[in-house]
Amino acid sequence: MMGGLPLLAVVVTAVVILLLVLSIWMVWTANRLDKLHLRCEAAKATLDQAAIRRSVAAQELSLSGVLGDPASTLLVGDAASAAQESTDDHRWLAESDLTAALHLVELPTNGPQAAQLSDAARRLTMARRIHNDVVASTLALRSRRRVSWFHLAGHAKAPSMVAFDDRAP
């Protein structure tokens, strides 16, 4: 009779502490996830910008007339404008097509337009890697059981990897 109360108190305290620890852990996870989602969005924005920069550089290169023959000019110019025009699902297909076009023509090795294009292409490759890297971390955390059980991701949409051919020209 004497020991009943302290035992109950011990159990209650233990449960309270457990719940407290658990909820701190959950809040912490949700926070991590939130930061990852924000980084995904930022990486996606950087990737978008890098892609636009490359297509603009490709277009300027074709407009400058340094590609030699007009067929190469038309091919690169068309692929660049298609990349700028396309949205959503077709977006990265169009970027792959632009990469393929840049590989088919003989690009000048020097000159301001060529330097701008190779710089833009390098940054695009980098931006895609960085983006997919943070998407992978985010997806890994989202796949944990506690995240789905306690709905820690909230209404944030699952980010997705971006795949396209971004070999340097």
Binding site: Q59, S62, L63, G65, G68, D69, P70, A71, S72, T73, L74, L75, G77, D78, A79, A80, S81, A82, Q84, E85, D97, A100, A101, L104, V105, E106
Partner: protein, 373 residues
């Protein structure tokens, strides 16, 4: 006169533009003109003596499809040499607004240039953003030919001006004299489909869906499918599937024989057609035509006067149109009769007259004297 023809696409792969250039070269040579053809292709394959291969073709995605073309500095150098050595009076380039040897030849040309536009599609964004670099080259064209009204309106929209319409040529006699094959005619009526079977815009799926309802009204009908590609019959119910015969890719002679055997030729294409030469082939072979109401097809069929039209992509309407045509032999006879007369304007004899008239128009006035026709 000496005529240089430039074909943008590899001659080793069949296609509308390639056939047109080869046939035109043949007809012009037959009329005593001196013809040279420049095109990409495989150097190891044997080509006729008047053909100069400019380099191996690479597949390129342009204007919504994959084209096999050649370009680059080496191609440009060879093209310039071909132009110098050829000493042509007229250069006739095909599909000049494509990343191909046609554009390269136009760029390098120093003689009057005639250009034929085959496609009914140009991306406006490309045209506007590249106008500054392309315009000076395109301005070198002395006379522009569009193969159809739809190709013409695309041209006017993007480049302005007033191009001449001269349709693609056809050797009508090859079709009108083709012998039907009994096993493609019997038993019962036959519906014919011709075209790539794995390309959705050719519309085979529309026809396959329309086929069971057709069978309800005409149980002995067979559907003959010819063309390159796999055929997916999984959507067709078992009884109907037995009435479908897949023939694969046919030779030119067999194509003509198949069309002349058909009770009805169906063109269920859902879009992207600029001309519809296969409709003209069917008409020349004496096959009554049922076609989707695309602008190009409407114009070939004179708004339904020379063939039956149905709503593009609508298998119910397609089935109804084909069934009605199968039920009424007097309509089929009337269509056959009027089509046979109408296709003559696509025959190479008249088409060549028109093209030579364009050549004459662009020749400098001095050349008109003392040239041989």
């Amino acid at each position: 006169m000496r005529v240089g023809l430039v074909c943008p696409y590899s001659l080793d792969v069949p296609g509308g533009v390639q056939n047109h250039v080869s046939d035109l070269a043949q007809v012009l040579t037959g009329r005593g003109h001196d013809v040279g053809v420049l095109a990409p292709g495989d150097e190891d394959v044997e080509h006729p003596p008047h053909v100069t291969v400019v380099g191996r073709a690479v597949p390129v995605r342009y204007n919504g499809s994959v084209a096999r073309v050649a370009f680059g500095p080496r191609v440009a150098a060879r093209t310039a040499k071909w132009l110098r050595d050829g000493g042509f009076d007229v250069l006739h380039v095909h599909e000049p607004v494509s990343p191909s040897v046609s554009l390269v030849a136009l760029w390098a040309a120093e003689v009057p240039v005639v250009a034929t536009f085959h496609s009914a599609h140009l991306r406006s964004r490309t045209m506007s953003s590249l106008a500054a670099v392309l315009r000076p080259t395109i301005e070198k064209i002395s006379a522009r030919i569009a193969v159809s009204e739809s190709a013409r309106s695309t041209l006017v929209e993007h480049l302005g001006g007033d191009p001449v319409v001269i349709p693609n040529g056809l050797f009508c006699a090859d079709f009108s004299q083709a012998q039907p094959r009994v096993r493609w005619q019997q038993p019962g009526p036959t519906i014919v489909f011709l075209g790539r079977t794995d390309e959705p815009r050719k519309g085979l799926d529309v026809l396959l869906q329309a086929f069971p309802p057709i069978l309800e009204r005409h149980p002995t009908t067979r559907l003959l499918v010819a063309g390159h590609g796999e055929v997916d019959l999984s959507g067709v119910p078992g009884d109907a599937r037995r009435q479908v015969e897949v023939l694969g890719q046919l030779s030119d002679v067999d194509r003509a024989r198949l069309l002349s055997s058909a009770t009805v030729y169906v063109a269920p294409q859902v879009g992207g057609e600029s001309f519809g030469i296969v409709l003209v082939e069917a008409m020349a072979a004496g096959a009554p035509v049922a076609a989707s109401a695309l602008p190009a097809f409407r114009s070939v069929l004179a708004d339904g006067e020379l063939g039956v039209l149905f709503a593009a992509g609508d298998s119910t309407d397609c089935g109804r149109a084909v069934s009605d045509l199968l039920s009424d032999s007097s309509i089929r006879e009337r269509l056959r009769h009027s089509a046979a007369a109408a296709v003559l304007r696509y025959d190479w004899s008249g088409v060549t007259d028109d093209i030579v008239a364009v050549y004459d128009t662009v020749l400098p006035a001095g050349r008109l004297w003392g040239r041989d026709r």
